[in-house]
């Protein structure tokens, strides 16, 4: 009887020894200070021009309203702005700073902005060569000649991958907090964040808006990021089963993810694009109350779409992996 746990342990350690996780940490360590520095410059500029954040916010709202009155601006863009104006107005009316300059707020925004491109990239660093890597080194033969059912091997890889996805999300949050906190201070855990904005066309219904302390909001947001990242991870696992070379596997997945972000910024007229998984990755938008890229998309829709893609990918991965002949 071959037990699963040793297999999972084996796979987890293999990923660790391949130093992929170090790469992820290294990328974070390089990028976070860059963004922190950029944010610091913005804050400095605002501090110079405005007496306090309320003046800055009221000016921001005014600038957006002026832009809205221009006929030259496309209607689609106006819809986003109108909603943003109403939300900023809500924060202002409650006397809550939506862009408070502290480490926790910076981390929250960094994570939310990273969900469509940066997290998929980090996940791919680990997921892309899970199977294809074994092929290129030839170790796949040793792995499959062991008296272990094939599905168990792939399953253990999947579990290891899940563990690393969780580690990436948590580690990125912690690193970002530690680094940005050094510049902006480590406070902000209890700041209220509003969630529950309902969007009807171009108006925001604030009936169900409620305040959530920022630490809880971070947890909620991280959970959504994890779900998005897991979908990407599972799809990457499938690609890595199907494609022989790791490079091809990374390129395929990156192409899909990038196509998704481009689509979501321009697909308002092509409605079926909402069934593409990469268009649905920005789950944090629903929490924030930003309008979805395509009208009619809801949290439930996105969760189901992502889940279907993931389940489909799992079915394909397991079928192919258990049936496929290993030649070469």
């Amino acid at each position: 009887m071959d037990r699963l746990l040793p297999l999972i342990q084996n796979e987890t350690l293999k990923i660790w020894k391949k130093k992929r996780f170090y790469v992820v940490i290294l990328v974070l360590l390089v990028l976070i200070p860059i963004f922190t520095y950029a944010q610091m410059k913005i804050s400095e500029n605002n501090a110079k021009n405005f007496k306090d954040w309320r003046n800055q916010l009221v000016q921001q709202i005014n600038d957006m309203q002026n832009a809205l009155s221009s006929d030259r601006i496309p209607e689609e863009w106006k819809r986003f702005r109108r909603i943003a104006v109403q939300q900023l107005q809500y924060y202002l009316d409650q006397n809550v700073n939506p862009n408070s300059p502290d480490g926790v707020t910076f981390t929250r925004e960094f994570m939310s902005n990273s969900v469509t491109l940066f997290y998929p990239l980090l996940v791919l660093a680990i997921a892309s060569d899970l199977v294809s890597g074994e092929r290129s080194t030839g170790t796949i033969k040793m792995l499959l000649t062991r008296p272990v059912r094939r599905w168990k091997i792939l399953f253990s890889k999947l579990v290891a991958l899940t563990l690393y996805v969780s580690l990436i999300v948590i580690a990125s949050g912690i690193l970002c907090y530690l680094i940005s906190g050094a510049f902006f201070g480590y406070g902000g855990w209890n700041m209220p964040i509003f969630t529950g904005f309902l969007i009807n066309g171009a108006t925001v219904d604030s009936t169900y808006v409620h305040a959530v302390p920022q630490w809880l909001y971070m947890l909620m947001q991280s959970g959504l990021i994890w779900f998005s990242s897991m979908t990407v991870a599972v799809l990457a696992l499938m690609v890595s089963v199907l494609v022989r070379s790791t490079a091809a596997s990374i390129v395929t997945m990156m192409a899909a993810v990038i196509a998704g972000t481009i689509l979501s910024s321009m697909s308002s007229s092509w409605e079926s694009a909402k069934y593409v998984f990469a268009v649905n990755l920005q789950l944090t938008d629903y929490l924030q109350g930003s309008p979805p890229p395509i009208e009619g998309m809801t949290l439930t829709f996105s969760l189901i779409t992502l889940a279907l893609w993931a389940v489909g990918a799992l079915i394909v991965s397991f079928r192919v992996f258990t049936k496929q002949d290993i030649l070469n």
């Binding site: 040793p6 342990q9 987890t12 350690l13 660790w16 007496k51 309320r54 003046n55 916010l57 009221v58 000016q59 709202i61 005014n62 309203q65 002026n66 009155s69 221009s70 107005q89 202002l92 009316d93 409650q94 006397n95 809550v96 899940t162 563990l163 690393y164 969780s166 580690l167 999300v169 948590i170 209220p192 509003f194 969630t195 529950g196 009936t207 169900y208 808006v209 409620h210 305040a211 959530v212 809880l216 947890l219 909620m220 947001q221 991280s222 959970g223 959504l224 994890w226 779900f227 629903y286 929490l287 949290l299 439930t300 969760l303």
Partner: protein, 274 residues
């Protein structure tokens, strides 16, 4: 399982990762619950209010803090440099009073009418906040009420819609709106110096529209009667600037001043302040 040197590493990685996964799953579940079955909550925060400035002469205060409000004239539409009269006030005031001058906010909106402004002053907390901080408030309003034209349009379109009958009819309506604006402003900040920039007829040099100047003058006259009631308010005339010198002071849309025109308005505002 054989014991190996990686045992410790495995334990550390797996336990950390497992805990992370559980935490994230909880976060995921909580946010889905929170979004699909939202609960109405009431957030009671601090009220948005600023300490009003002390009532003192502008020249004797520590710092001049300007909040500008109104229509496209205050926004600076037509000025290719984007300064408008508001930004040009700053160096002039600095020079005159020798104290720091700061633009708190310029909250003017293109196309704003006096009724919209009065409504905003009544309900927009952010605008009220910014106004109550200031010790100098400058505003323009009424142009869109009288001429009923959207800003940024070309002169031909604008004049096409304008007729004298309509202008005469709009006058009392617009003045009633202006009165609301003035009352709101006084209520929000009774201590600040408030300057109203009077109206001018941009079509003085156009045939058939020259008599619009008479209506504009009526507006200015009655606006002054309202402002006269408040000792901290001043009205600055501008009508004379745009009669002979339209070429020099009006921008290419033949409605808004250009940079030089705004410079003249700014100079007049500064002259009126003490």
């Amino acid at each position: 399982m054989r014991s190996n040197p990686s045992g410790g590493l495995w334990k550390a990685v797996s336990i950390t990762a497992l805990l992370s996964t559980l935490l994230l799953l909880f976060g995921f579940g909580y946010s889905v619950k929170d979004m699909l079955w939202p609960q109405q909550g009431t957030y009671v925060g601090e009220d948005l209010s600023a300490k009003p400035p002390e009532r003192s002469k502008l020249g004797q205060s520590k710092e001049i803090l300007i909040t500008a409000i109104g229509d496209s004239l205050t926004k600076g539409t037509g000025d290719a440099t984007g300064e408008g009269y508001v930004k040009q006030l700053i160096p002039l005031l600095k020079e005159k009073f020798n104290i720091p001058v700061r633009l708190n906010n310029n909250l003017a909106l293109n196309g704003m009418r006096a009724d919209q402004l009065a409504n905003n002053l009544g309900k927009e907390k952010g605008i009220r906040y910014s106004l109550s901080q200031a010790n100098l408030i400058v505003f323009t309003i009424g142009g869109n009420d009288l001429f009923q034209i959207a800003t940024g349009q070309s002169a031909s379109e604008a004049t096409g819609e304008l007729n004298m009958e309509k202008l005469k009819k709009e006058l009392p309506v617009g003045l009633a709106r202006l009165e609301r604006v003035i009352k709101e402003l006084n209520e929000i900040n009774p201590n600040a110096q408030i300057v109203y920039v009077g109206m001018y007829n941009p079509f003085y040099d156009l045939k058939g529209l020259r008599e619009g100047s008479l209506e504009v003058q009526k507006w200015n006259q009655q606006a002054y009667e309202m402002i006269y009631n408040y000792p901290n308010m001043t009205m600055v005339p501008t009508f004379d600037l745009f009669e002979k010198s339209t070429e020099r002071y009006l921008s290419s849309d033949h409605f808004h001043p250009n940079n030089e025109g705004y410079a003249q308005i700014a100079a007049r505002i500064v002259q009126s302040l003490e």
